[in-house]
């Protein structure tokens, strides 16, 4: 009677501040793995589904297909048309949200315990059996066009697109997953059906659930919800080569404040030095008010409202990026300060005090993330996608603590490349032109 068996493996994890996140691995009778935290105190549950591949699974010449398909998931399924579906979700007081990024399609759901069965049936229809009606396709296509149009004059969108174009060569990461006016206009219903089949498959599925549900109930739920999916979907994209080179690229745009995105090659999550890089980033530009860049660019000089840096480890490429915005006549100074801090950190590394402060922040702030059913469900899915063990939460801070000053400073020397830093600037920056960075 294998069908009734639910395999449950439990791990009790103690957070630094003694929070317990008791993650159980549930393998459904149908063979789908889900991670569960039972939280019976509030009668609802949060469910997070993620399908690896995201917008990067677009077929050649079909840029934007995954995005348009994702936009149509809530536009009717089974017997329900678009508005009927929305009314049904309202009747259940549930919330279904479908989001696409370059590495995954995520479905974030919450529903009350009392309407669990109906909510699961409705959600299932939207994932397995969306209508993709022609009239809805046209309406949602119009919304995609409107978004693309707005992006043409949004400095943040312009700078992001320019940076990606320069960084990722011919990989899907180089282009907007929403597609272009031309590519979106050409998409047919058949393209959307293909996109649906490419992404919705068990071989790329990750499930996290938190709430008022037992392992046995969750096993049954995931089978009902996802058991009908095919075993395999489209093959995943190849690794991207990070092709960006050092210098400045100015994108002329008439606006009072220049917006800059800067970066170079980064470091992958699988790299043993990832935590050393995390600490380095915290000191340099990741830690909000305390970072060196905030101190130099904002606190000392008042050149910006915000400057920050972030490691961007994606499935197929890793970059190290940052952003800053300053008035057109001040952006050049901000950029030079950033470049100088970059080379200073590469050459001299961080201090022992900075290392200690970064560690206390990074370890101490870790429990703050586990602040509700939905965030915990998202974290568990993220852990599975990276391939972390189920007891990772308990060991994560030890990994941070194990990083030495030598590690951080070795990584600083390897990772930070002031000459290789590319600044893409959108605006009318005074004293900056496309080419090498001025001295």
């Amino acid at each position: 009677m294998r069908i009734f068996s639910v395999l449950v493996i439990s791990f009790l994890t103690v957070l630094p501040a003694q929070a317990e996140v008791k993650i159980q691995e549930v393998i459904s009778p149908g063979g789908i793995t889900a991670w569960l935290v039972e939280e019976p105190s509030i009668p609802f549950m949060a469910l997070e589904l993620r399908f690896r591949g995201g917008g990067s699974l677009d077929r050649p010449g079909k840029r934007g297909a995954l995005n348009l398909m994702t936009g149509l998931l809530e536009e009717g399924a089974g017997d329900l048309d678009s508005r009927g579906f929305a009314r049904a979700v309202e009747d259940l007081a549930a919330s279904f949200s479908y989001n696409l990024n370059s590495d995954s399609l995520s479905v974030s759901v919450r529903f009350l315990s009392e309407s669990r069965d109906d909510a699961v049936a409705l959600l299932r229809s939207s994932i397995v059996d969306p209508n993709l009606n022609e009239s809805d396709i046209e309406r949602v296509r119009g919304q995609v066009f409107a978004g693309l149009l707005s992006d043409t004059t949004d400095p943040d969108a312009i700078v992001g697109a320019a940076f990606n174009r320069m960084t990722f060569g011919d990989h899907p990461y180089a282009t907007d997953l929403s597609g272009t006016n031309e590519s979106v206009a050409a998409l047919t219903r058949e393209d959307l059906i293909n996109a649906h089949g490419d992404i919705f498959a068990k071989d790329r599925l990750y499930v996290g659930a938190v709430g008022d549900i037992t392992p046995a109930e969750l096993g049954k739920l995931v089978d009902e919800l996802l058991g009908g999916l095919p075993e395999t979907g489209a093959s995943q994209p190849q690794a991207a080569e990070v092709t960006i080179e050092g210098g400045v690229t100015v994108v002329d745009f008439d606006t009072p404040q220049s917006v800059a995105l800067f970066g170079h090659k980064g470091i992958g999550l699988e790299d043993p030095d990832y935590f050393a890089a995390t600490i380095l980033n915290h000191v340099l530009g990741g830690g909000s008010f305390e970072s060196r860049l905030m101190n130099e660019v904002r606190e000392k000089r008042g050149l910006t409202y915000g400057v920050s840096t972030f490691l961007v480890p994606r499935d197929h490429a890793a970059t190290y990026q940052g952003q800053v915005a300053s008035a057109n006549d001040r952006i050049a100074e901000a950029i030079l300060v950033i470049r100088d801090e970059w080379s200073k950190a590469a050459e001299k590394g961080v201090t022992l005090e900075e290392l200690r402060n970064a560690k206390t922040y990074i370890t101490g702030a870790y429990p703050l993330r586990f602040d509700g059913n939905a965030p915990i469900a998202r974290i568990m899915v993220g852990m599975q996608m990276i391939g972390f063990p189920i007891d990772y939460i308990a060991t994560r801070n030890d990994r941070v603590e194990a990083v030495t000053l030598e590690d951080v400073n070795r990584v600083a020397a390897e990772l930070l490349d002031a000459d290789g830093l590319q600044f893409v600037v959108v605006g009318k920056p005074v004293g900056l032109t496309t080419g090498p960075l001025p001295e």
Binding site: L15, P16, A17, A19, I42, P43, F44, E74, S82, R83, R87, E90, D91, A93, R110, L112, E114, R139, G142, Q143, F145, A146, L149, S150, D151, T152, T153, D154, P155, D254, T255, P256, Q257, V259, S288, F289, E290, N295, E299, K300, R301, G302, T304, Y305, A325, S326, A327, N357, T360, Y361, I362, T363, G364, A365, L368, F370, D371, G372, N373, A374
Partner: protein, 446 residues
């Protein structure tokens, strides 16, 4: 609108959902010096959020010093008697916490999220900067540059933000809600040490503040610490009563044409002056809250039906209303026309749809669906006590009481379709409206 829809309370409701709202994790009390305290308990994780809200926002600023409330908020991260400039956030961070602050028309609030056992440390520092900031001329100059860059980032770089600012300026004849929270650029450039300190002296005192602690804390524990750190700060007898200029009757329909080369996607925006939630009198605001959802709250709303399904006039439409406000607020609509549809056509279609709604009245089934969602929100809200803390803080700084906050869900549930239509008839009138077109530089409206 989710902010408005997720109030927590202990109602007895007639549906199965009522059982679930039975636990109220909220405790309130007042210190001897007049400082109000709210504790929202959730012991699932050893984390607290510590917030202090001041009943002082941009609408309390003196004429000519727009932006000073927000400027002062930035300056509270500089030195005090006990801390160096920047040390406040550095200590929070070194203890594994996050901190920030925000300013609105009616309030300024400071908060930290941190491990529960650091609550005392936070109270020590936050109570210190309630009275003891030490500013230098250099702080003023550099931080003024920072807020100017903040205005550049939020407003000057965004045609739609500049457009909204103009809409509000035209909406209010005689109230500071017409002045942006961040300030007008020409006044921000002149803000000085005296402006900041005089605002601080007037408004930063325990009897003008509300302490809100949410998460893993008990009322007894919070009371003990609050008495130790905040309770010793003297009551300020000179705190002025919060009297503001009021709007005269609005008698003229207004139009705003805003052109900007950076506009790619033009749209029509409409705002109406509208009543806010008042102490002991929240019914009209509750009716407007439901009205906004019914008219433009999403796929099942009336405007979406008329403008995106029955016809394809719009690619997007929305109606929103924010009732938590000390003085008259606004009821807003936005219609983004589909390609080939002019702004005039979009505006006309919006007006035709609203007129037909006024004739047809509300769909009772839609009202019931909405009320069920509101009840469910109370359950979901228990998963986010920081959100509950936010709602108490914003309510208590906008003239409402704890009782008003707790009565709100029940008031929403009791609103009838007739009351919704009566509120609509009262608010949706041309005389108190502003209609705005956000346009490209060369574009024609017709």
């Amino acid at each position: 609108m989710t902010r408005m829809r997720a109030f927590l309370a202990t109602l007895m409701l007639s549906t199965p959902l009522s059982v679930m709202a039975a636990e109220d994790p909220v405790t309130t009390f007042v210190l001897d010096n007049g400082m109000q305290v709210i504790v929202v308990e959730d012991h699932r994780a050893p984390v607290v959020q510590h917030m202090v809200w001041y009943r002082a926002g941009s609408a309390d600023e003196p004429k000519g010093a727009s932006g000073v409330a927000h400027f002062l908020e930035h300056l509270l991260f500089k030195a005090t008697d006990k801390l160096e400039s920047g040390e406040f956030s550095a200590i929070v961070s070194a203890n594994g916490g996050n901190d920030n602050a925000f300013t609105s028309y009616d309030y300024t609030a400071y908060y930290q999220r941190i491990a529960a056992d650091r609550l005392e440390l936070m109270m020590g520092m936050e109570s210190d900067r309630m009275r003891n900031i030490r500013l230098t001329p250099a702080n003023i100059e550099t931080e003024r540059d920072v807020i100017i860059e903040e205005r550049n980032q939020r407003t000057e770089n965004s045609a739609s933000a500049l457009f909204s600012e103009q809409m509000r300026a035209v909406q209010y004849h005689n109230h500071r809600y017409g002045v942006p929270v961040i300030g007008w650029m020409h006044e921000m450039e002149t803000l000085n040490l005296d402006d900041a300190l005089s605002f601080y002296e007037i408004y930063y005192s325990p009897n003008n503040a509300i302490l809100v602690v949410s998460g893993d804390a008990t009322p007894e524990g919070v009371r003990e610490l609050a008495e130790k750190y905040y309770g010793v700060i003297p009551f300020n007898p000179a705190l002025p009563e919060r009297l503001r200029t009021e709007e005269p009757p609005q008698t003229a329909e207004r139009r705003v044409i805003f052109r900007d080369a950076r506009v790619a996607q033009p749209y029509v925006s409409r705002s109406y002056l509208a009543p806010e939630r008042d102490q002991g009198a929240q019914k009209e605001a509750a009716a407007l809250t439901l009205l906004a959802e019914i008219l433009g709250g999403g796929t099942t709303s009336y405007l979406t039906e008329k403008l995106q399904f029955d016809t394809q006039v719009a690619v997007y439409s929305s109606v929103y209303y924010r009732g938590t406000s000390l003085d008259d607020t606004t009821f807003n609509m936005i219609v983004v026309p589909a390609p080939g549809v002019t702004l005039q056509e979009a505006e006309d279609a919006m007006d035709v749809a609203v007129a037909s709604f006024m004739k047809e009245g509300v769909d009772p089934a839609q009202v019931e669906r909405l009320k069920k969602q509101l009840r469910a929100q109370q359950i979901y809200a228990r998963d986010n006590v920081d959100g509950i803390a936010q709602r108490y803080g914003s309510a208590l700084t906008t003239g409402l009481t704890v009782e008003d906050v707790q009565a709100w869900p029940e008031i929403l549930q009791a609103i009838t379709p007739e009351e919704i239509m009566a509120a609509a008839e009262k608010v949706i009138i041309p005389e108190s409206s502003v209609t705005g077109w956000l346009m490209k530089v060369q574009e024609q409206g017709q």
